[in-house]
């Protein structure tokens, strides 16, 4: 078999990488190995449309099969890579097949973090794959009682979807408020209120300590001594990067596969990108982060592909993600916890943006919330300001009548 570019993990990141290799003019073999049996699909809808759509939900594929053929990308589904022989530059698959590589990309993603007391319950679920989504969806019936452990994005999006399906929902959050990670309190509050208005019960400072199954139910015991009887519990307490393959190959790993600013692992022929890697962000003084965000996975996949072909590009994108809950759209660009000062800008009547400035006045993040896509355009402009290291005038940021685009021209 001829050596070529090999990608392990056919999620958002791996697929983008495969196409980017072709877009960069590479003509050798491109092999994309994925453990899932489906043609690669988008995950963000799984907690949103997939849960609430009237019709039987369909997977939204990242690229049509014809496109894989047209670009001559060999997609090998239902195949788990079980080891990497770095000496002979071979990837070994579970079924003993071997794929030789010239350069290798690990795009193995992340999986839901397990909550040990819940692992043996038949009524506890996590959400990462389309199959997970179907299993949860089938149980979101009107009147069903659902406990969601973890007030992060996936838990809260599921809470909103479950309410839309007529289920009753209790969210258990061990910390003092929902969305502690990555979302400022003022915005978390808007979302918290919206959930409570929709009838969701949110219990903060409370942990779930044990899960006891009966035939049809699960009794969830809380750290405050209460017990909630539910039809199902969903565990949404974050994700763990998939690093076992990298570790067993002797690559450096920590909270993720460790890469440099070109997304190279400790083996220069092997790259890692997307949810599985921990990387330095040039924009924030080389701070090491691991993101679980869709656009990051795409952009890192593309950049890793170009670097596999010798481009030597540094990853410089501004972190960005969105979340949809009910009619509300949330978007965050940059890292809000880098900010020392917060400036609020109202966008129309129902939406607002918080600008987060560092001690030296540099714009380091912007977070916004409002109905539909009311904050999208301004968050995008903020992102461009962040990328430039701009120090916008706080008064102008706050003034709704000053167009952000005009600050970009300054």
């Amino acid at each position: 078999m001829k050596m070529g570019m090999v990608i392990i993990g056919a999620g958002e990141c791996g697929v983008r990488a495969a196409f980017a290799l072709r877009e960069s003019g590479y003509e050798g073999p491109v092999t994309l190995i994925g453990a899932e049996r489906h043609l690669p699909y988008e995950r963000p809808p799984l907690s949103k449309d997939t849960m609430v759509s009237q019709d039987h939900p369909a997977r939204r594929t990242i690229a049509a099969e014809a496109l894989f053929n047209e670009r001559n990308i060999a997609f090998i589904g239902s195949s788990t890579a079980s080891s990497i022989d770095r000496g002979n530059k071979l990837v070994k698959l579970e079924d003993d097949r071997q794929v030789p590589y010239e350069r290798l990309l690990l795009a193995t993603g992340a999986i839901p973090r397990a909550l040990p007391p819940a692992t043996n319950s038949r009524h506890c679920f996590t959400l990462r794959s389309f199959e997970d989504a179907l299993a949860i969806r089938a149980r979101l019936r009107p009147g069903a009682r659902i406990v969601i452990v973890g007030g992060g994005f996936i838990g809260l999006e599921l809470a909103a979807s479950a309410r839309q399906r007529g289920a009753s929902v209790t969210v258990i959050e061990p910390q003092g408020r929902i969305m502690m990670r990555g979302v400022p309190e003022e915005i978390a509050k808007v979302i918290d209120t919206r959930h409570r208005d929709a009838g969701v019960e949110i219990l903060c400072d409370t942990g779930a300590v044990s899960f006891t199954d009966t035939v049809n139910n699960v009794a969830v015991s809380l750290s405050n001594g209460n017990v909630i009887l539910a039809d199902l519990a969903i565990i949404g307490i974050g994700a763990t990067p998939v690093t076992a393959l990298a570790e067993s190959a002797g690559l450096e790993t920590g909270n993720g596969i460790i890469v440099n600013d070109r997304l190279q692992t400790s083996d220069a022929e092997i790259y890692a990108a997307g949810d599985c890697c921990i990387f330095p962000l040039a924009l924030y003084g080389g701070r090491r982060v691991r993101l679980e965000a869709w656009r990051n996975a795409q952009e890192q996949g593309s950049l890793a592909a170009r670097n596999m072909l010798g481009a030597k590009e540094q990853y410089q994108s501004v972190p960005w993600f969105w979340s949809d809950q009910y009619e509300l759209g949330l978007q965050v660009a940059g890292l809000p916890d880098e900010g020392k000062q917060t400036i609020r800008r109202d966008v129309g009547e129902a939406a607002f943006i918080l600008f987060h400035l560092a001690g030296d006045g540099r714009l380091v993040a912007a977070s916004g919330i409002g109905p539909g896509n009311s904050v999208g355009k301004d968050i995008r402009l903020a992102e461009m300001l962040i990328a430039r290291g701009a120090r916008p005038d706080p008064g102008q940021l706050a003034a709704s009548n000053v167009k952000l685009k005009s600050l970009l021209a300054a």
Binding site: E42, R295, G376, R380
Partner: protein, 104 residues
């Protein structure tokens, strides 16, 4: 047969900006380019049916406000992931202080 519909006045749209225009149960986006020309496309992103008029216009690109999918609004061309289906475009002309769009 041509079917020119009045959409707005030129000054309803800033330079390098976009406006939503609804007509006969359909939604469109009308653009004014930085060099003061007018263009029109279907109003919804081809990824998730989001109104493009809430998006950002930069040069000849409209960027979707939802996941930043990019289209060239002059040609309708989708500029890459997450958008892969082009936008339909419509002829536009400015006549006697009105922006007209031709909906075949």
């Amino acid at each position: 047969m041509s079917n020119w519909i009045e959409a707005c006045a030129p000054d309803d749209i800033d330079e390098e900006d976009v406006m939503r225009f609804d007509h006969a149960g359909k939604t469109f986006a009308i653009y004014r380019s930085p060099d003061d020309e007018f263009f029109a496309t279907d109003g919804l992103c081809t990824h998730e049916h989001i109104h493009l008029a809430d998006g950002l216009v930069m040069d000849e690109i409209i960027e979707c406000p939802k996941h930043n999918g990019r289209f060239n609004y002059k040609t309708g061309e989708a500029k890459g992931a997450p958008v892969c289906v082009n936008l339909r475009t419509y002829p536009v002309k400015v006549e006697s202080g009105k922006v007209l769009i031709e909906l075949g």
